[in-house]
């Protein structure tokens, strides 16, 4: 399927149906452009306010009948009507875009190109089978965790199944032969241990409200996003986790 990049307007083949930009750099450039627009609007407002004040002072200075004003008369000075009436119009036109803290945090994580370079090295340059095998399963399990964390309830048995899948990955030959530059080698046992703790706490329940910490969720979304640039998506039901 082909789409037009919303930044460079070039046509590109989409990896994901919801892709908006053709590349990471275009996404970043679009973000920078939005930021610059925000700064530009803020600066324009400051300059406009400064200009209006200057006009007001000049008009007061030029007034021939005006004597040396007393302190009281200063208090009575009103802005020229032109300025007063211009204010609502300016408010109408000037809108300063608001940024989203959650997205800012994800951007911060993904802007560190180290992980993407390492993935590119492992998968595109060295065609490392182990990195692809582990990466594909990690991407899938992250997708599962995100879906379950947004569901109303999650079955404890499902969480245990995912936890076991993480264990299978860490025991696999592929995990043991991962290249040293693979960026998520340590994250897999960490995720498994966190999930294991959750499962042990709520063993007796059938269902729970499974929610991720904000930081964990940001980290998982960023990792999934990075993996998605190099590894195709497969459903949990399509993947074999125990490697024989």
């Amino acid at each position: 399927m082909e789409k037009e990049c919303q930044y460079c307007r070039e046509t590109f083949t989409v990896k994901r149906i919801d892709s908006v930009y053709c590349s990471r750099s275009c996404r970043q450039m679009a973000y920078m452009e939005r930021k610059m627009e925000k700064i530009r609007v803020a600066k324009t407002q400051v300059i406009e306010i400064g200009d209006k004040l200057q006009v007001a002072v000049l008009q007061l200075d030029a007034s021939p009948e005006m004597e040396q004003p007393s302190t009281d008369s200063y208090l009575k000075i009103e802005a020229p009507k032109e300025i007063a009436s211009a204010k609502p119009k300016k408010e109408e036109e000037n809108y300063i875009p608001v940024d989203c803290a959650f997205l800012d945090a994800i951007r911060e994580q993904t802007d560190n190109c180290h992980n993407q370079e390492a993935l590119n090295n492992c998968i595109n340059i060295h065609m490392d089978v182990s990195a692809y095998w582990v990466g594909q399963r990690l991407r899938c399990l992250i997708e599962c965790l995100l879906v379950l964390s947004e569901a109303k309830y999650a079955k404890v048995a499902d969480l245990m199944e995912i936890c076991n899948a993480f264990t299978h990955i860490t025991r696999s030959v592929h995990y043991k032969s991962l290249p040293t530059i693979f960026p998520y080698t340590d994250d897999i046992p960490l995720l498994r241990d966190k999930l294991k703790q959750v499962c042990l706490k709520i063993q007796k329940a059938d269902e729970i409200k499974f929610r991720l910490d904000k930081e964990d969720k940001i980290q998982l979304i960023a990792t999934r996003y990075e993996l998605a640039q190099y590894i195709s998506k497969k459903k949990f039901s399509q993947l074999e986790f125990s490697y024989k």
Binding site: S19, E92, Y95, E150, K233, S237
Partner: protein, 87 residues
């Protein structure tokens, strides 16, 4: 119910960015209505009513849509199946 002289825009807002989006809606005094809560996907559907001819409100809506679009870029994948095994 849609107020007079307004244009309606329906927005699917994920819980992760809900506070930021509602912040914009309240700050800009946009008329709005929560029309649906999709608990199975942590999504709130908000209908926003924009005053016809208000440039500022149009810009606020564009701001909201940019946030949602970027969130979608990072978070959502091709499949929106809530069965995690088939997601």
């Amino acid at each position: 119910m849609k107020p007079r002289n307004t244009t309606e825009e329906s927005l699917k807002v994920p819980a992760d960015v809900l506070i930021d989006i509602l912040g914009i809606i309240v700050k800009e005094s946009l008329k709005h209505e929560i029309t649906q809560v999709i608990e199975s996907r942590s999504i709130v559907v908000v209908a926003v009513f924009l005053d016809n001819g208000s440039l500022k409100q149009q810009r606020a809506l564009q701001n909201i849509q940019n946030i949602l679009e970027e969130y979608r870029e990072y978070r959502w994948s091709d499949s929106e199946d809530i069965n995690w095994r088939e997601h």
